[in-house]
């Protein structure tokens, strides 16, 4: 029996011991429930994949089970058998739990390493995206500034070119550069045919306008004298006359459109002759390109 217990594998030894006892009938009483549980718990712990991580604990469980087996051999129904079986079972469970805890700790450590690497990767990605966004913003600002500067230059150039033309003023508005030609310079009263002097001035202006390159919105305005419909029609015809003349001077027709605003947008008092004269006008709006 002692020889069997000192065999190299405890599990094999126990199995052989059980078999031998059973075959020889050496134990008249069957092993108590506690011992059976202890054997099963020890087997589960020793055979678990993580057993190698808790060798010391498995060893303690093995020793306790050995004592339980010895107590059973000595007195199958004795308190020693129950006590050592109880202790062996607890130690076997404890060894299995410890092995599992150590496995989980290893897994947790590996996961933490992965998490650190992943966070670094995420940060690099975010930094990269942020750099890209910053560059794009800087580029966008640069482009916007270039466009603003180009517009300012074009306005200045056009204003300079038109400054010498009598009866024409240039102002800057949100929509673009607005060139205003007095109606008295352009047309005879109630007419929409350009006066010869007006043609000469528009011919001069067309050179600067062609160079500017922006689209032109021609708007005709009247004073408040006469009916709304008459004023609307007259203002539209005058705007069309200016447009047609500029096209005849070589400006692309697609660049110019015309509309009549009638008396709806006065810039001076219609109660005085001077005010009415100022309200009778044609505006050429050099439209800024939309950003």
């Amino acid at each position: 029996m002692i020889m069997l217990l000192t065999a190299k594998s405890t599990y094999a030894s126990l199995a052989l011991l059980t078999f031998t006892c059973g075959a020889l009938g050496c134990a008249s009483a069957p092993p108590p429930r506690e011992l059976q549980d202890a054997r099963a718990a020890y087997r589960a712990a020793a055979e678990s994949p993580a057993a190698v991580k808790a060798q010391r604990d498995i060893g303690e469980a093995k020793e306790a089970l050995g004592r339980a087996e010895a107590a059973f051999d000595d007195d199958p129904k004795g308190a020693g058998t129950r006590d050592w079986s109880y202790i062996a079972q607890r130690k076997a469970h404890s060894a299995r739990a410890r092995a599992s805890a150590l496995t989980a700790l290893d897994d947790g450590r590996a996961a933490k390493g992965e998490l650190v690497a992943l966070r670094a990767q995420e940060k690099a990605l975010r930094d990269h995206e942020l750099d890209g966004a910053r560059s794009a913003l800087a580029g966008e600002r640069g482009r916007a500034e270039s466009e603003r500067q180009a517009r300012a230059d074009a306005d200045a150039k056009t204003r300079d070119a038109l400054a010498t033309i009598a009866g024409m003023t240039a102002t800057q508005s949100d929509r673009g550069l607005v060139l205003t030609l007095s109606g008295s310079v352009l047309f005879a009263s109630g007419k929409s045919t350009l006066l010869p002097a007006a043609q000469a001035r528009l011919a001069e202006a067309s050179t600067a306008l062609k160079a500017d390159g922006r689209s032109i919105h021609v708007v005709g305005h009247t004073d408040s004298t006469g009916s709304d419909q008459t004023n609307l029609t007259l203002s539209r015809q005058r705007a069309e006359a200016v447009r047609a003349y500029l096209v005849s001077k070589g400006m692309t027709s697609g660049r110019i459109d015309a509309e009549g605003a009638g008396k709806d947008h006065p810039i001076a008092d219609n109660a005085t002759p001077e005010g009415r004269a100022n309200n009778r006008r044609v505006e050429l709006i050099l439209v800024n390109a939309k950003p």
Binding site: I87, S94, L115, Q121
Partner: protein, 121 residues
């Protein structure tokens, strides 16, 4: 345990050793007490299974201590050994549960981070 109880226990242990001649299980008593303290410090009471074994360890320690005081070393010894084994089991079950939960939490964080990276959030 009160100081007077500790004194009484020590006197009993000494007397028992003199009377019976058997080895005094003072080390076993200390070991089971230490194991129970460790399990408590580890938070075994917050783990359902751990708490059950911790309670069993306390009860067996209490009974074992009475036998020690009565000088019945033979009965006390297995109870103290049982108490120690239960306390150690409570400890290891708690460790296992905590380690598994921690690892799972980290894995969940990884999965969440991977999802947000894939989504470009």
């Amino acid at each position: 345990m009160k100081p007077s109880s500790i004194f009484a226990l020590l006197v009993s242990l000494t007397t028992a050793a003199c009377v019976s001649g058997a080895p005094v299980p003072a080390d076993k008593l200390a070991r089971s007490e230490s194991a129970i303290r460790s399990a408590e410090e580890l938070g075994a009471e917050r783990n359902a299974e751990g708490a059950r074994y911790l309670q069993a360890a306390r009860e067996q320690l209490a009974t074992g201590r009475k036998f020690v005081i009565d000088g019945d070393q033979a009965t006390a010894t297995p109870l103290l050994l049982r108490a120690e084994a239960d306390a150690e089991l409570a400890m290891n079950i708690t460790r296992e549960s905590t380690a598994i939960a921690d690892a799972r939490k980290t894995r969940d964080e990884i999965a969440s981070l991977q999802t947000s990276m894939k989504g470009g959030k």
